[in-house]
Structures are given as C-alpha cells and as structure tokens.
Amino acid sequence: MKYLRFGYVTAPLLGFLWTFVIALTVAITMSFATGSAFRPSGLGALIWGAGLGLACLPGPVWKPIIAAIVVTAAALFGFGPIVIGQGVSGFSSILGAGATAGFAALGLKIILDGVAFGPINRHVSEASLIKFLTGFGYIFFTAIVLIPFYVMVLTSLKNQAELIQNPLDFSVDLSKGWDLFRSYDELFRQFDFGIYLFNSFVISVLTVLITLLFAVPGAYAVARLRFRGRAAFSRSILLIYMVPMIVLALPIYIAFSMAGLRNSLGGIVMIYPVTTIPVALYMLQGYFRGLPAEIEEAGLMDGLSRLRVIWKITLPLSLPAMASVSLYVFMIAWNEFLLAFMLLDDPSKFTLTRGIASLNSSEIPRQHLMAGSVIATVPIMALFLGLERFMTKGLTAGSVKG
C-alpha cells in the first residue's frame, strides 16, 4: 500500500479504472438506447485513463478540459477508451465519445481532489479511493436495478420481429403513436387482464383487512397483557413465520382439492391472510410495546374497558404502524405467486400473477408477457413510491420474510 501513496501512482491507476468504468457505462447505455455498436477498450482506457488521471490532478482548470477534448477526438478516430463500431451515426459517435471523455474527466477531477503529484498521506489516498468506489457503486447499483426494468418496459412496446432483429435496439418509434401500446390493449381485450387486475386488487385489500382484524387484537395481547406462555407465544410466531410456503402448499392443495375450494377466489382469500398474520402480528406488537402504557392506564382508570382502550387509544396512536403493516401485507398478497399458481386453474378467476404465468407459453408473443409484468409491477411501484416513508419503516420493522 505504501508504494501507492504517490500522486503519480494513484492518479493514473484510478484514472484507468474510472475511465474504464465510464467507457463501459457509456457503451452499455448507448447500446441499449440506440442499438448501435459501442464497446469499451481496455487498452484505450489504460493509456488515455492514465493521461486523464494525471491531467486531472489539482491544477488549472484548462488541463482536464484540454485532456477531455483530446480523448474525445481520439475516440472519434477509433483509438480512444471507447470503440465505435461501423455504421454508427455521427451524432451518436460524438455523443458517445464526448460523454466518455467528459464524465471520465469530471469524475477524476472530483476523485483526485486534494491529491498532490508527489507523496500523499494515507487519508488523502484512501479518500480518493473511497470517492472512486462511491462513484462506481452508484453507477453499478443503478445499472443493475434499472436494466431489467428498462428491458421489461421497452420490450412490451415492441413487436416480435423487431425483438429478434436487434435485441439491443430499444429505441422507441414514437411515430407509431398509440399503436405502441398494442400489447397492453390486447391483454385487456383478449386476455381478461382487467378482471385479473380487479381480482388481485380485491384479494389484496381483503387480505389486508382480514389480517389486521386478526393481528391487531393478537398483537395487543402479546404486547401488553400478562399471561402464562407469553414469551413462548411470541417465539412461536417467529417460528411459524419461517415455515416454507411450499411445505404448506402441498397439504393445502390436497385439502382444497378434496373440499372443492380450488379455483375459487374465496379459497384464496381464506389462505392469504393466514400467511401474513404472523408477520403483521410481529410487526404490530413491536410497535405497541413502544407506545407509553401510561396513556392506556389513564384510559382504564377513567372507566374504559380494555377493548375500548384498544379502539380509542391504541389504534389511533398506531396509525403509522398500521399503514406500514397494511402496505407490507398488500405487497405480499399482490406479489404472491405460488398459491395462486397451484390453486387456480380457471382463467376467469386468475389473479394477476397467475395470469402472467399463463402468458408464458411459446404461442404467446413475448411482448405480451412483458406487458403483463408491467401491469403487475406499476401499481405496486406507484403505491410504494407514493408511500415510501411508510413502506421503508414497515420493511425494517419486521420484514425478514422473503
């Protein structure tokens, strides 16, 4: 590590790494956006990145600017950190080359802030490394999260022929207008996705209501009341919450087959809440414990019964927790796949997840599958982004469930 603590070592090294990261990012972004051929070059990144690193050491501002312009020109002439393939339009080429050089220089200017050319101390060298890792981390996580969703949305707007022709070309042909949304239109018209959406919504809402109805009194009892076996009870909740669904799904399938409850939404509504009650109970009892008992005792002294204390004091105080739990339970019910898959066979009674599973066949074009996925994802995302505060709290409060 000691040998690295010289500006003339740190700068080219981080310059190379950062330039390569940027070149890779730009290449992937440009490929996914336009379908044209961009690729990073390791050798180019090594040579030009080292140069950029040295130019971006603290000093006059013109040095990095000049360096960036030189790198852009080099990339356009075919030996820069990013290689532009045949037949890429002039605008795309300039954009790609410029973005690579510009972001590389900008990032390096920030990363190498405070790094001298000669020996540097441990603080400065580690700080620059951390800045590099931070930048890399943001790019990396954003990319891995966004790419699948990007592919999902844009595939749903294309048709089969376009998909096979160039799998990288995700550019949207806006001239098609409303025709872009043909897959969605067909899903709602021919595949009853309106009904599935409605089914999923009703089932999720009912699940939330039933779960709260069971879990609120239970959680209150575990949190506040003294009775024998309380500790054992709160442990067994956690234990139950770890029983894998597939183990339960098998006997439930058998029982439902025999009782004729398969293919009925009523059967699903009977099962879903039970899978969420332990989670909800666990989350709520944690919150109830945090509420001051004195307020409730005051209520008791003033002549309220326990049940009225719960209704008039505890519940209003725990509205935020109820919102978190409701959202979380809604999410579980909305996303549930295994039970719906095993218990529902009749296409008129599918939930959304089951409906998407039925689209997974070779006869149905892939953009329909992706359009279905988008239909299932968008409501939960909208709900989640709108109420992110509650959701984050709900997830941390008790969601260790997968």
Partner: protein, 414 residues
C-alpha cells in the same frame, strides 16, 4: 389484622387479564392452527403413505346414461344404456348400487336379474367392483305414446349411485418407500449441494451488496431519497415480473445481454445462461442476490443511521483513516445486525421456491430441496415423495431455528 402477607397465586384481576389475552389471541391461534399446524401434521402423515396425484380423489362410480335403438314411433323397441365404470384403475369399490327413475312412456320389457323395478323406480345392486372395472347395463324397453308426447329422455333424470371405497389418504397402508426414494442415489446429495450453494452464496452476496449500498447512501445529498426508493425496486416488484424480465434479458437467442456480450467481443457465440450446468446455478444465485440485497440494505442503513457520529469525529481527531474508521468503528457496530440478518436470510433463502421455479424450473442443475418438493409431487405426481422431501426441509428448518433462537436471545433488536 392477622394476615398481612402478600396474596399468593394469581388474583382475580390477573386471571381476567389472562382470559382476555387468550380471547384476543383465539382467532389468530385458530387460523394458524388450521392453516399451518394442521398441514404440517398432514405432511408427516402423507410422507409415509403411498399416495400419487391420482389417488387424491377416492374411486367413484362413473355413470353415463342414454337411450339406444329406434325411438320414432309407438311400439319401437329400444334400450336404456347405462355405461358404468370405476374411476380408479386399481382401487376397488364395494357394494355398488344405482337408482334411477325411468321416464313415463317407456315400458320395461326385460329386467336385468340384479335390478328391481317398483313403479318407475329402478334400483340395481351391482356388487363389488375391482379397479378398472367397466360394464354396459342394458334395460330393454318398448315405446309408448306418452314418451313421444312428453319428450322426457332417460338421461334427463340423473342416476344416483352409492358405493364404498377407501381413499388412499385415510386408509391404513403405510410405507417408507417415499423416504427411500428421497435419500436414494446421488440425486439427494446433488440437490442438497445445490441448496447449500444457493443458500450460502445467495445470503452472503445479498449481505455484502446490501452493506455496499448502505455505505453509499449513508450520507445526505440531493436525490438520496430517490436512490433509496430505486434500490428497493427489485424487492418490491412481483417476483414473476422480474423473473421473466431476467429470462428475457439473458435469453440465448434474442436476449439483450448476449447481444451486448457478443458486440463487446467477450464471447463469440450466445451463452445459454439459464440452461448450462454450472452457469444456471450461478445465475439463480445472482438473481437471489439482486432481489434481496435491498432488504439487507434497508436494515443495515437503519442501523448505520443510529450510530453516534461523535465516535467518528473522535476517531478523525485521533488520525484514523477512512478505512480504519470503517473497520474498527462501523463493522463492530454492524456485526449484530449483520449476524441476525445472515441467520434470517439464510433460513429464508433455504425456503425459497418461486425464484428458481420461475427461472429454470429446477433444470440444469438448479434443483433445490424446495423445488424438489414440487418436482416430486406434481411433475412425477408422487405426492408421498414430495411430502417426504417437505419433511426433510422441515427437519433442517428446526435445526436452523434452534441455532437462531440460541443466538438471537443474545441479540437485541429483531
């Protein structure tokens, strides 16, 4: 004034409180007992029974009724035909009887010896049927005017049947073949190895990714909220949607990932990411990491934000470098939450079914124990063997929870 010692035992108020508590818990306990405990017991029961998917229905008498012959004019000879069969190929039905009403206008000309007719009610005692038994029972009749007038056909009045059959699920046959099948051969060990690989690397990977993401977002800047929301996307969206998006992205023929890799010169020909032996397992593990790093990230971030910043200032004053601060201050503080998360995620990854089922269906060397339950029970339609695998899973789970509770009792928090 002789007795001033504190009261012994539970007083009436305490008893009232306990009664209320159990009352409040009763609905939950009932529901959980019905849907969790009962199925668990059922799994143990089924795992020692030779049950296949077709045995789920008890064998029953299947009957179809129609009229054969001329039915045009009065005096025509026809016959009512009952096509009978045992729905099961190997289970017997004892004491089969059928009863039916013969419509007006059909005069029975000849009666099968096993049947009796009183007024218009036909009843037949057909004795015991072996598995796979089938028979055509013919009742010759002569047409009368009334039949042509009222238009009532024999099949309009459904025939009632009775018969005793024992269901495979409830009878007294037991076997250990299911467990023999499960533990037999190399398959079990390969499944176990796949499960362990998936669980261990999936859990550790998700924790490390989560830690990295939490370190990134543990500072306030513009857009921090948006990024935090964005990084939770994989966890919040339906598994089926993201699994299919991954399949499409990594498709060997028209997948964007392959096109990208070929274009960048990393590979010459398309890679079948979810279809090759070691690669498929790595891919499903990566998917698991991708989908669950947000969860670890949230927990770790919440813990990080509750660490006192004074400590870092003091360390700064003493000249600790950023990496030293991370290693000697943050890591010890995070160790508690990391170990709890590890245990919980370990158990949950072990239990995971949907992800692998959707991505590969358990093919190409990605069959874990949970996928094996489905595979045995529904693909091979041997419910008993599936239940036996489920019992093995449950055993592992009990062992894990034992560790978990020994450990978690020392950790506060969760």
């Amino acid at each position: 004034m002789s007795d001033l010692s504190p009261p012994k035992g539970t007083g009436p108020l305490a008893r009232l409180e306990a009664r209320l508590a159990w009352g409040l818990l009763a609905p939950t306990i009932t529901a959980v007992a019905l849907v969790v405990i009962l199925p668990l017991l059922a799994i143990f029961w089924i795992s020692v029974k030779p049950v296949s998917l077709s045995d789920l229905r008890a064998p029953e008498v299947v009957i179809r009724e129609d009229i054969r012959g001329d039915t045009e004019a009065v005096g025509d000879a026809a016959s009512i035909r009952y096509r009978l069969r045992n729905s099961s190929q190997d289970q017997p039905i004892r004491g089969v009887t059928i009863t039916d009403t013969i419509p007006a206008g059909l005069a029975v000309s000849e009666l099968d010896p096993r049947c009796t007719l009183s007024d218009r009610n036909l009843s037949c005692d057909l004795g015991d049927w072996e598995g796979g038994f089938r028979e055509n029972l013919m009742i010759p009749v002569t047409l009368e005017q009334a039949y042509l007038d009222n238009g009532l056909r024999p099949q309009d009045s459904p025939a009632a049947t009775t018969g005793r059959a024992s269901s495979m699920l409830t009878n007294g046959t037991f076997t250990l073949d299911n467990f023999k099948r499960v533990f037999d051969g190399d398959e079990f060990w390969s499944v176990l190895w796949v499960t362990l690989f998936y669980t261990v690397f999936g859990t550790i990977g998700a924790l490390l990714f989560g830690l990295f993401a939490a370190l990134l977002l543990n500072k306030s800047f513009r857009g921090q909220g948006i990024l935090r929301g964005l990084y939770l996307f994989p966890y919040v969206s339906p598994v089926i949607a993201v699994a299919f998006a991954w399949i499409l992205l990594f498709d060997p023929f028209s997948g964007s990932a392959n096109a990208l890799l070929i274009q960048m010169g990393v590979t010459q020909e398309a890679i079948n990411f979810f279809g090759q032996r070691p690669l498929a397992l790595i891919m499903v593990t990566l998917f698991e990491i991708w989908r669950y790093f947000p969860l670890s990230f949230l927990f770790i971030l919440a813990r990080m934000q509750s660490i006192d910043t004074d400590m870092y200032e003091a360390a700064d004053m003493d000249g600790a470098s950023p990496f030293q601060q991370f290693w000697y201050l943050s890591v010890p503080q995070l160790l508690g939450i990391l170990s709890v998360l590890f245990l919980l995620r370990f158990i949950w990854t072990f239990n995971k079914f949907d992800d692998i089922f959707l991505l590969t269906g358990g093919n190409a060397g990605t069959r874990t124990l949970t996928v094996n339950v489905y595979e045995q029970a529904f693909a091979v339609s041997n419910i008993g063997a599936g239940a036996a695998v489920a019992v093995v899973i449950f055993g592992c789970l009990l062992a894990f929870s034992f560790f978990f509770f020994r450990f978690i009792s020392q950790e506060e928090g969760l």
